[in-house]
Symmetry: C2
Subunit: 520 residues, 2 copies
């Protein structure tokens, strides 16, 4: 037999191979990390609940990412320097997950971190951003990283429940897929060195919403144990209306030329046709106040927004990290030369945006962010932070709930200093900052990454997020302790509440239509 | 003014900004490399010749890759461990190029390397493979790297010339786009530190064909000065038939419900409809022997295959590197345990494939490749190597033609040793081997990369490919000197001609239909 040399890449006929409940799969190992791309965790008929895949003989390759869910519209690439994307072929047969792990020993029992991607509930995928790659998180964090695709938009969230039992949960089929993936993890993750009794969900934007909607889902009880909600609470995004499903289905049937009640036809019409019809009929229905089919809807499966109905008692016990970033949806061109503006010039710009509130806001801003440039007030998020404060308040009603709050406030070297935008913390979470050019600031990148990544991973390990040199306390009733991630990190209590309240007053509440133009 | 710190990423309001003939564009700089993604180099109406884009005021961002050309069918991800892909949003408005450079000094005059992607003439894009990223090639090679998208398949190569002057070159619209990009480079590349008088085209598979079709295109004269053809010569792929364009157009019009002669309608019908119609009508026409619309067609613009009509005298003067890889289209599961087979077992497998020729082939193989496992004969390419030998022969008819031949014969650590497959040399060319896990063999990766990358870059610099320790001679009449890239590199003369001839006899010539199932 020929002598094999040490390799930084290994993939032979029988290594690495793991036996899952349905059959054996083969991945590859690179620099110590075993990698499995595109494991099919479930199958599903359109609008129906997912089912386990059929068992197979022999070894299946898990060497290619699986299809991602088709989108209603194609993205137009923009802001790629801020958020590098990775697109992928689409098919509604999209129930695939990916695993990165440093061990295949069933006794290794490493913490499992399951990434739920953003894009609302209508877009995105497990590999949509370059930063989502799990190899470094597993390598440097000694965890098992899992990411997954699931059904989105009308494939995942169209409410056809009024048409019979078989569609009972079509309004939450996407979340149902996630539960199927979590069940798959329970059943199989030990073979990948993971601990099924220590599963942490983490997700950003829509991914953060997925975390807390699953906390409010009885079928998910016991399938995960901790949650991290990154920029994942906002108003007006998740709602419910009784009986609206029929309205949408009827409009779709009419648009597609089917008879009333021929809802079965919607199962087989090509997705592109269905999506086009939906895009045609949905805006008018939305205008009439109907709740249409792109987000989970409260029912027996998903009980509803905890800020409206409170946290379920099982959800209260789940430790949570929750936070936002400074600028969120401020993807604009920035404020060139902001550090060279005189105070008078800055105030002029502030008054233009905030009117008579500018003076008070400036004062509150400088109290909350004494180290920041006053012009940054123009970039301050008015979408996620206020609802997140509410979320934390609701959590703190139960003394048993552990809730760790953060704010990612880093200023990037873009356009003379750009406040952290929606998604900008993700490269640091995944220990992938070096892969994303805009994160490459010597002396800062590593430190900031160690703080964010280190906190996420220590939380996944034992429920306590650790940032070196700081005692990150959980929030208490009326006392929101906020870990502010920046060039220097600090823990600050209720530090921006007055600012955020006044800011919301001045800008008015965020309107859903604004979010629909932003696909992240 | 605030003190700015040294950055590994710079993108301010006015830096880096380059003035092009049409207007200013802004990119970013990372670790010394200036990067511009998605520069629009031309506009074009469907089936028409490209035109320069309209001038603009102010600064346009070149921070996001541009649309890629729509494909006839969606890829199904497979073999991703062998060739990691990167897909992207599609639009026929796809004339975009990308630039990576270490200098913006008009006096820097660095060699310019222009990458033409593979995928036949019907698929692929400038960023379709992870390995295509130009940052490292520019950094380590001190060259200006350019890659580009252009029109493909029926958008780039549907022959409507019989319908009038405005469609005179629709059969080569994709190549026409490339010429527009090369003109843009002539006009603008000095602003990116490049030398417009030292432009090297390099491309693989379809990209290699693009290199030599442009050598046979008078309008490209003077726009480039050297060419590298990687696995880019094969039989039956490029052909021409007089008058076939009308047949296809009429079939398309009928399929789409238009009247005969309403060819104008084809300009505005949505691409998806046009593509679906084409996919429906093309197979029957192909069966009838008609040449359909997915490849360049010889006309006044593109003169034709040099192996049929000879090289144009301008083409003869262009120095060329040309070569193939050992296994090419052998993407199969490999031959597990091949090093453990007895000679009898190997001969049995060979006889199964080659019949009575097995013995002679084995002998010829062991003469050509004494260091290789005899089982590898089963993987030997029968698509590109023989036509490439012909190509070299045709070149060597002119003593003035400099032609450097190579064969990439490396065995990868996959499936117990997998012979180099189509595309597998690309990561080494771009100095991106470390980004592609399967290339990460300690002690081999760097050496092999230095050899391949170093040869390509030195050739781009002054027309002489340098591999350390080897005098890489140009081919001579009846003497093909072949640089064999492997764990150890060597220059060998006519080393596999007898083998290839006998092999082709045993397998029969490659049939086009086989290639159509492989999209790389």
């Amino acid at each position: 037999m020929r002598q094999r040399r040490a390799q930084d890449f290994i993939c032979t006929a029988d290594f690495p191979v793991v036996r899952t409940a349905q059959g054996k799969i083969r991945g590859f190992q690179t620099r110590g990390i075993y990698t499995f791309h595109g494991i099919k965790y479930a199958d599903a008929r359109r609008f129906h609940r997912p089912e386990p895949v059929k068992p197979w003989e022999g070894i299946r390759d898990a060497l290619s990412y699986g299809f991602v869910c088709p989108l209603l519209t194609q993205d137009t690439p923009s802001c790629e320097a801020l958020i590098p994307h990775r697109y992928w072929p689409m098919d509604e047969n999209c129930q695939y997950l990916n695993i990165w792990t440093g061990s295949l020993d069933p006794e290794a029992k490493k913490p499992v971190m399951v990434w739920l991607h953003g894009g609302g509930f209508s877009a995105g995928s497990s590999i949509e951003q370059e930063a989502y790659d799990g190899e470094n998180l597993s390598r440097y964090g000694d965890v098992v990283t899992v990411s997954l695709n699931h059904r989105l938009n009308i494939l995942g969230y169209l409410d056809l429940s009024c048409y019979g039992e078989e569609y009972a949960n079509s309004a939450n089929a996407g979340n149902d897929d996630m539960i199927a993936a979590l069940r798959w993890i329970q059943e199989n993750i030990r073979g990948f060195g993971g601990d099924p009794d220590n599963v942490t969900l983490f997700g950003q934007s829509g991914g953060g919403m997925k975390v807390w909607t699953l906390m409010q889902t009885p079928e998910a009880d016991g399938l995960f144990h901790k949650g991290i909600v990154q920029s994942g609470v906002l108003d007006g995004f998740l709602d419910s209306g009784e009986g609206d499903g029929r309205k949408i289905a009827e409009a779709l049937l009419a648009e597609l030329g089917f008879e009333k009640g021929q809802v079965k036809e919607l199962e087989t019409v090509p997705y592109r046709k269905l999506a086009d019809a939906y895009r045609k009929v949905a805006p008018a229905l939305k205008k009439q106040g109907f709740y249409v089919g792109e987000n989970p809807k409260a029912n027996a499966f998903y009980l509803g927004d905890p800020r409206k109905i409170g946290f379920r008692k099982e959800a209260r016990k789940i430790p949570v990290i929750i936070g936002t970033v400074f600028g969120e949806f401020d993807f604009g061109p920035g404020y060139p030369g902001k550090y060279d503006l005189t105070r008078a010039q800055t105030m002029e710009a502030l008054e233009k945006k905030y009117g008579r509130a500018a003076g008070e806001l400036a004062e509150l801003f400088e109290q909350a962010y004494p180290e920041k440039c006053l012009t940054d007030l123009l970039s301050l998020d008015n979408v996620f932070r206020a609802p997140t404060i509410d979320f934390v308040k609701e959590r703190c009603k139960s003394p048993e709930s552990l809730t760790y709050s953060y704010l990612f406030a880093y200023e990037f070297p873009f356009d003379d200093g750009k406040c952290a935008w929606h998604c900008s913390e993700i490269p640091y979470v995944f220990h992938n900052a070096d892969r994303i050019p805009i994160c490459r600031t010597p002396g800062v990148m590593e430190k900031l990454q160690d703080a964010v990544f280190g906190a996420w991973v220590s939380f996944a390990r034992d429920g306590r997020p650790v940032v070196p040199g700081i005692c990150w306390k959980a929030c208490e009733k009326d006392r929101e302790h906020v870990l502010v991630f920046d060039e220097s990190c600090s823990l600050r209590t209720n530090f921006d509440h007055a600012l955020i309240e006044k800011h919301l007053e001045a800008t008015g509440p965020f309107r859903m239509e604004e979010a629909e133009n932003i696909q992240h």
